[in-house]
């Protein structure tokens, strides 16, 4: 037997390597199916999208035997230049998006307005979700509270209903003539001797609050999204609250801390590590909340509640500007990247918060 192992075969280098790498080989084999599929239907389309964004890809290029698209509007971009140089060239789709001079006239299209609204939309929604969610979780966490389980079961309902259904139902609720919101407001108003409420929630163009350039449809969306969003934060906060040891509160109350002091010195700091990742997730979700906005307000009136993803969808769905839509998506990607990096930076900074 001993002689067998000492046998110096020329293949031993390869055999050693073969044995040494067996784990790695299996690992790659396990990765292969997922990455083959993702390569075909995720990564390849993404790279194709970058190429598309530099062309004038249009409905005429769609058919299998159709002509290839031209590089993006090269000639037009050149003629606009005084010296006859192409300043933008292949990136003309991007220029058109930023300046709003799209090949098909789209009423009220402005990238910067959409971006600004999307950011305002995100940063006004998430604080509501977090504050309301945490407060209700704390309220529900009171010892000796009756019907706790009943409330917990009810409050989770907005999460379990598909957002598609939520959006279309709220759209009908905001109907000016038959919607339940106006009917509810009318009954409340009649109770106090007021008149019938007939707010045109989704298509009133002027701003209800002077000085704040947000239409009534923004507030309609905000109401619907607060209804939709706070229970998730309550669930996260409830989980975190239950993991806080009761001794801390007892010790604090022996030391004479008031309820408010206990909330700000114990509850809040200990909720932080659970709430911050949830808030970041909520921010990315809200920033890309396609279903609610597209199906509730439809981005209206006059595109004043349009967000980036609904605009990208419209460029494909209504305007059939595939090249421009691809460029738009590439821009969305970079906006999201910046947003993620920024929130990552902020949350990392807050993670160092010591209790």
């Amino acid at each position: 037997m001993a002689t067998m192992t000492e046998q110096p075969t020329p293949r031993s280098g390869f055999a050693n390597w073969w044995i040494r790498t067996s784990t790695t080989r299996i690992a790659w084999l396990y990765l292969l199916p997922a990455f083959l599929v993702m390569g075909m239907i995720t990564f390849y389309p993404l790279f194709y999208q970058v190429w598309m964004s530099t062309t004038d890809y249009n409905i005429k290029n769609l058919r299998i035997d159709a002509v290839a698209p031209n590089p993006a509007n090269l000639s037009e971009a050149c003629t606009t230049n005084m010296k006859g140089e192409c300043t933008w060239g292949r990136f003309d789709n991007y220029r058109q998006i930023f300046t709003g001079e799209l090949p098909v006239a789209i009423a009220n299209f402005s990238f910067w307005n959409v971006l600004a609204f999307d950011l305002v939309w995100t940063f006004t929604n998430v604080p509501f979700h977090v504050i309301i969610g945490v407060l209700i979780a704390v309220l529900l966490n009171t010892k000796g509270l009756w019907f706790k389980r009943f409330y917990r079961a009810i409050f989770v309902l907005p999460i379990v209903i598909p957002s598609l259904v939520v959006a279309v139902v709220w759209r009908n609720m905001f109907d000016p003539d038959y919607g339940s919101i106006n009917q509810l407001l009318t009954s409340v108003s009649h109770l106090f001797g007021g008149s019938t409420v007939a707010a045109r929630w989704l298509d009133q163009v002027n701003y209800p609050i002077a000085g704040i350039p947000l239409t009534l449809s923004y507030f309609a969306l905000l109401i619907a999204n607060i209804w939709l969003g706070w229970p998730f934060m309550t669930i996260v906060a409830t989980g975190a609250l239950q993991s806080i040891p009761g001794d801390l509160y007892e010790a604090a109350s022996i030391d004479g801390a008031t309820g408010r002091q206990q909330f700000f010195k114990i509850t809040m700091p200990l909720l932080r590590p659970a709430i911050i990742p949830a808030a970041v997730l909520g921010m990315i979700t809200t920033f890309n909340l396609f279903n609610l906005i597209y199906l509730l307000s439809g981005g209206g009136p006059l595109r004043r509640t349009e967000i980036l993803v609904t605009t990208a969808y419209r460029l494909v769905n209504e305007n059939r500007l595939y090249g421009v839509a691809a460029a738009f998506s590439v821009i969305i990607f970079f906006v999201l990247l910046i947003l993620t990096l920024a929130t990552n930076y902020v949350t990392k900074a807050t993670e160092r918060y010591d209790i």
Partner: protein
């Protein structure tokens, strides 16, 4: 700290017994607040339920009533027979949605779990890069790649007809859904596998189990809750998928529930009675909502994205 004179110094001593109830005054205030929140939470749901049993055919609802006079299930019957103007029954729509959702769910989880296993347990060259690639795709909403997917799938001819492409089929929509669902499945499952202790595998490895055996006999059974939750979330995303199918599908036999629902309320709603729309909304939402509600406890533990683990 002037309040150090605690008004209830005896409380900590009595903690061996069940704590006394809240003082009635604060109990009452809390109950009132919680009842108000319950009302707000239930209001849209009760409204849609009451609409769906409203018998007044074409009319719009003119007042708020929980149970309208002459309540009936006619709207459900009408919706079951033919929800929209397209000649397609509810059952066909539901079957299409089910096929789509099931396909997306099984495919994403089935392929995703082995990749998640590698990401969770192995150290191979280029792993960081691959994980980053998955994470980057995850951040991007699926609508972000709708243009290239539309164009690329459109180039694949299925039949002989001029418009008979992969794009204009449930398979095309399914592929587009998986493009977003697979990265989610990988990442979510990886997060869960990270929480499974490694001792069990190491013990099995010492006993001579191969990697395949540890994966199939130890990891997969332990990961069942996460597999179920991820599969259900994949199913949910397919069941309620709207944007891709609305853009891709043009032939009525392929239409899905979400498209029909939007047809009944959106820009093409025309004279659809609101009771029909309400019944449809409930029929679309109820099955998945009930499952969601039942699985809720597991979903919270199986959903690892955004967790602090």
């Amino acid at each position: 700290m002037s309040t150090s004179a605690n008004p209830l110094p005896s409380q900590p001593v009595r903690r061996r017994f069940p704590k006394p109830d809240l003082p009635y005054r604060s109990q009452l205030i809390r109950q009132l607040i919680l009842l108000f929140i319950t009302f707000i939470t239930l209001f849209p749901i009760l409204w849609i339920v009451s609409l769906s049993i409203d018998p007044s055919g074409l009319a719009r609802p003119t007042e708020l009533r929980l149970i309208p006079p002459g309540a009936s299930l006619d709207a459900y019957r009408r919706v079951m027979a033919q929800p929209t103007n397209n000649p397609i029954t509810f059952a066909q729509l539901a079957f299409n949605s089910f096929k789509l959702a099931m396909g997306v769910s099984l495919f994403s989880v089935g392929i995703g779990v082995s990749a998640a296993y590698v990401f969770s347990r192995f150290k191979i060259r280029g792993q960081k890069f691959l994980m980053l690639a998955v994470l980057t795709v995850l951040m991007m909403p699926s609508i972000g790649s709708i243009a290239p997917l539309f164009v690329l799938l459109n180039k694949i001819q299925l039949g002989t007809g001029p418009g008979d492409t992969l794009r204009d089929s449930l398979y095309g929509v399914g592929l587009a859904c998986i493009s977003g669902g697979l990265p989610f499945a990988i990442w979510n499952l990886k997060g869960y596998l990270d929480t499974i202790p490694r001792d069990l595998e190491e013990a099995a490895r010492i006993d001579g189990a191969t990697i395949n055996q540890t994966f199939l006999k130890i990891i997969l059974p332990l990961a069942t809750p996460a597999l179920a939750v991820t599969a259900f979330l994949g199913f949910l995303s397919g069941w309620t998928e709207f944007a891709l199918s609305w853009q891709f599908l043009t032939k009525a036999p392929n239409f899905t529930l979400s498209m029909a629902l939007w047809n009944m309320t959106g820009q093409y709603s025309g004279q659809v009675p609101w009771s029909n729309f309400a019944a449809m909304a409930l029929l679309v939402a109820t099955p998945v909502s009930v499952v969601y509600l039942m699985l809720q406890k597991y979903i919270v533990s199986g959903l690892t994205i955004g967790s602090v683990k």
